[in-house]
Symmetry: C2
Subunit: 507 residues, 2 copies
Amino acid sequence: MEEKLQQLKNRLNRVADLRSAESVLHWDMETYMPEGGSQARADQMGTLASLAHQYFVDEEVGKLLEDLAAYADQLDYDSDNASLIRVAQREYDKAIRVPQNLVEEISRTASLSQQNWQKARKENDFGLFLPWLEKTIDLQKQLAACFDPPDNLYDALVDVYEPGMTSTQIEAVFTPLKPKIIDLVKGITAHRDAVDDSVLHQHFDPDAQMAFGRQVVTRLGYSFERGRLDLTAHPFTIHFSRDDVRITTRVTADYMPSALMGTIHEAGHALYEQGTDPALYRLGLGRAGMMAEGTSMSVHESQSRFYENIIGRSHPFWHYFYPRLQEAFPEQLGNTDLEAFYRALNKSEPSLIRVEADEVTYGLHIMLRFDLENDLINDRVQVKNLPEEWNARMEEYLGITPPTDSDGVLQDVHWSSGYFGYFPDYLLGSIFAVQLWEQLKKDNPKVVAEIESGQFDSVLSWQRDKIHQHGKKFTFDELAQRVTGSTLLWEPYVDYLTTKYSEIYGL
Amino acid sequence: MEEKLQQLKNRLNRVADLRSAESVLHWDMETYMPEGGSQARADQMGTLASLAHQYFVDEEVGKLLEDLAAYADQLDYDSDNASLIRVAQREYDKAIRVPQNLVEEISRTASLSQQNWQKARKENDFGLFLPWLEKTIDLQKQLAACFDPPDNLYDALVDVYEPGMTSTQIEAVFTPLKPKIIDLVKGITAHRDAVDDSVLHQHFDPDAQMAFGRQVVTRLGYSFERGRLDLTAHPFTIHFSRDDVRITTRVTADYMPSALMGTIHEAGHALYEQGTDPALYRLGLGRAGMMAEGTSMSVHESQSRFYENIIGRSHPFWHYFYPRLQEAFPEQLGNTDLEAFYRALNKSEPSLIRVEADEVTYGLHIMLRFDLENDLINDRVQVKNLPEEWNARMEEYLGITPPTDSDGVLQDVHWSSGYFGYFPDYLLGSIFAVQLWEQLKKDNPKVVAEIESGQFDSVLSWQRDKIHQHGKKFTFDELAQRVTGSTLLWEPYVDYLTTKYSEIYGL
């Protein structure tokens, strides 16, 4: 059995190498590739995706997994080897349902679609993107159909990023949450004058912004010897091993939080990957990443949203960092005290861009996308009507209408990349982040004081011990049970938001 | 037959994609990869190399080639399809002799060896590199042995970069050339005071150097929409398609020609790749590149050396560019006239670093490496004695001894990458460049006047028509015959050097 296990590992090594190579090509495409390289890059990524798929769905893998099933049953459920066999089996059962030419077509289309989305967004021309989005959605429907989901075609796509999750389960969380958030937004809107964030809307030198971001994420524990930070149209995290985990951000010269909070968000993803147990190297188990591998994206988002919001927009965090930020930008911030800055940074109001939305309204952006995806995949909305649908729902959910499609339906990279079913995980992750934060405070009552003094070691150690090291050994539910003794709870999230924003806005 | 040809092309597409992906990973490793990424990168590149090899040596390819042989015979020898089948057959016959695990081992070793070479060079510690070089040479001997060369093990490695060439043929060119060059060096040394290059040894702002280099290669026809320029430890050119051909250089702040001439050299390689016929896309035929694919590296070097020396160090070239260079560096060059600058740039004297050697002494650097490689592969020199052997031959060939190994045996990337057999092609290319230049002047008598006025279009058109478009359809000999009506001639090279340097030094 040891020998068969090794054969399985060798096979998974090869698949992991091909996927990592595809990721390097993707990173290059987003950062440094000259425009002329697009067509060849799409072909190359298509070939790598196809080969990775082909090596994984090979019947030899199925045979090895079959032979190893009884062996795995004798092992401790939480052990690396049992988890490897269990997760590999789950992914294999899904992967064999997808024809190889569909995998290659999805990858090739994604590369070209992204190029066209970038152009469409730049030129504010949805029409440029429309044929690519139609093709992408058609391919996603084909993908979903491979899994023959019993209730809702969209469930099959949700399952890609959050194994076992269904749209019904998501609705069970989103539906009670929605009126609570809308109530909170109404309360805040009634007190909108309590917060003035004009101090953030000054000119902040882009290089100095980047330098400060680097300083912050280094302090949080992100290793630049095992990563790097670059500029891209849309921030993302990507990893080629636990020792090469790269983040990107974008800079807005006249709004300071954009680059910084984006960098912290991505560092949250990156700390997860950099903290994976080295024993999981090259096994795919360590790839709890951005690719459609059936890992739990909600847990990934819980880490990024944890750092971005619960840490990065907290009073204790800025107690330590604000004097340093003032030092970096004395002209802009010299006359603003910590309390005013903290309130400015947490200003909440309905706005257009998801990645720059505040914590309270963020959930509504996600619900909008979740509903639209569900409708698109089930043909309840036509792709060509998407700008109008988007704008109508923005008005309905947030009470505002985007002046341009670039600020509306074209703002996110996800649909151009074929990431349908991913969006709900941002909110599930935000909700879980609060649950984890409550647990961390129970496990280490000194944590708030430590953060106030700029000590983040124990936060990271706790995360590594409880979450990061495990890669994708466990499902969301399994992990939540192991760390917090419970499945996902939405009530602490509402309490957290209500307490924090009642204090800020004097509700 | 059309169908079988398409099957062959599909297969070659996949191989080309894997090799291109490997090249992207290599480029990233040399430019932006964090240090921590080394191990995983070596594994990933090993996997890609192994798979590319595996797909190419598959017996299905052999079967297709067999079936297509008679069909190819009916086609015009120079046609794309006949050339594709012919070159694929030649490479297949070689590739099937190399076991897959050796391919993977060579690739994996090269990645790690390069990391260690960089460190050894930085720290001037040959001992750090020694075990990797020993392993690399051992692997190269294993590789050579696969081909069972009749006379000399080293011939098999020469053949990797220059199909059909043998060390005996190279010696037939190098042996008569050597005394001629040594005589010329002696003549120059006796008149060394005729040229003063101190004007080049001033501080030149690195960013301004890079900007000027970009301006020059753009004028020569290099497209930045289909390429880019970055900084690396050792300059190189790499391509992932004809539309993504990247160059790198290094900057020496206190010696201006280093970055500029390196950039022009690499642009010469890059213009070749950017000029490949689009019909050869993804067929490997278009990859007349830096990888060990059996293409003619001498022809590639003829293009880089042509731009670096015959154009880039010529009087007509600087007639156009010198006023522009003076504008970029008025403080350093304002008081130096064109004639003095031209002589300074062409100063010839024995020196330590090959890539910065002048045209005259350059050949001796190559002969040294050719002789050492021949001796290393045939066990006439032990790897651990290489620094002493290197230094002794530097004294013998050039009359100087490197003060450190970083300036001696550790200076080139080639051996760390496993590129044994490549060096002689630099000199063969230099010699062929002169032969091409004589032909170009015959074909277009106005070319010198055009260069003087900064017009390089006709130079590039001539090269594209005669050389670039063909990719690796033809062998060196076939191409030389088609373009110049003759095989390689060394006499024009001696005449060129003698005329140019007699004029500069007043011999």
